[in-house]
Amino acid sequence: MAVFDLILGLLLVILVRKCLSITDMFGAVISFMAFGLLMAVAWVRLEAPDIALAEAAIGSGLTGALLFSTLGRLPHSETRQPLVPRGSGSGPGYWLVTGFWWAAAMVLIATFVFSFQELQTPGLGGPLQERLAESGVLNPVTAVLLNFRSLDTLMEIAVLLAAVVVAWSMGYVDWPARQTIPSPLLPGVVRLLTPVFLLVAFSLLWRGSHAPGGAFPGGAVLAASGILLLLSGMTVQISPRGMSWLRWVLSAGLLVFVLAGVSLMAAGFGFLVYPEQWAGNLILLIEASAGVSIGAMLLALYVGGEPDMAPSQPNNPVSRPQ
């Protein structure tokens, strides 16, 4: 196993180095995605299946699609530009700063090696196991996310929603997206794969209560399915009514979460303090709405702006030139 760790670490370091220093931007993006893949292997090695699932769905799938689509929006010449602008990247100042940071990093490494090796880390695994029964779920990670520290998760969904608001406030994007489909194969395959995506997404969502999975990986798979539909050219014309519906879906996760918390407060418990007999069902409700909402939010973030449903001719949905 030690050799395995060594190779894994070496590969990770090489990939980071490649990603940050290879001139070709496609090479950098692919190295970055490979880094994500190997990080998932590292999570498996460190016995963190929940994180491995999230990394599999978000780290490699979504981020890769995001980066490739961004590269496509930039002209080709930009993807091969030199690593550092003229005038920097050489000279004593550069090497002084870099040398300083590397020396600081080495000191940090030495400190960590010597302190953490001796540190006793009892962790909270024991107390968590004792109280797991009253959380309403069997998977400890879900118990932490949606019961013991549900406020953090609430804030996280708020952050996602805020990100969508930021993206939408930057302006409209083409809708439906302009593109040429290289082959009729793609829509056919996507039509076949979409049910599988939905099945996996909802099974991940459902099993979050008793096994690794839950709202984040489920939502991410849902978003990936939507991205695949967009990429294969299957878009829908969004009407004004559809837009308001979309806004509700986007905010559903946060709304249900806050409503649950407030109504628990009104019923005499604390904010998001679940009574033991309802805990399981409440968590399921919150998780389901959060999962669908996270999927929609990640998809909205991929689209990168508010879908443009303004004046398009009925027969000829011309997209607005950018």
Binding site: S21, A48, L83, W101, I109, T121, G123, G126, V166, M170
Partner: protein, 98 residues
């Protein structure tokens, strides 16, 4: 074994920080930022693995962190595309300013 992963996390952290500071291209800076967060997560999860029994609380924190990272990246990329359309450059080099 866990000590090894701690060192690995710090090495990756330092490399990513170096990239974040030195590279001018904003797309590369965003990737460096992503790697940086991955290194932090690796550190946390390794600490969780060292605890006895396994500590799931850092796992939950990291899960939250991954989602926040992806939303940050998406917003950063959207900003980047806008910046490019506005200024024709992917860097924040002051000589390129309008």
């Amino acid at each position: 074994m866990t000590g090894y992963y701690l060192i690995l996390a710090v090495v990756i952290l330092a490399m990513a920080f170096h990239g974040l500071m030195v590279r001018a291209n904003l797309l590369r800076k965003l990737m460096a930022l992503n790697i940086f967060t991955s290194a932090v997560f690796l550190f946390l999860v390794t600490l969780a693995r060292m605890a006895e029994p396994l500590d799931p609380i850092p796992h939950a924190m990291v899960l939250t962190g991954i989602v926040v990272t992806v939303s940050t990246t998406a917003v950063g990329l959207a900003l980047l595309v806008r910046l490019y359309r506005r200024s024709g450059s992917l860097t924040l080099d002051s000589s390129n300013d309008d």
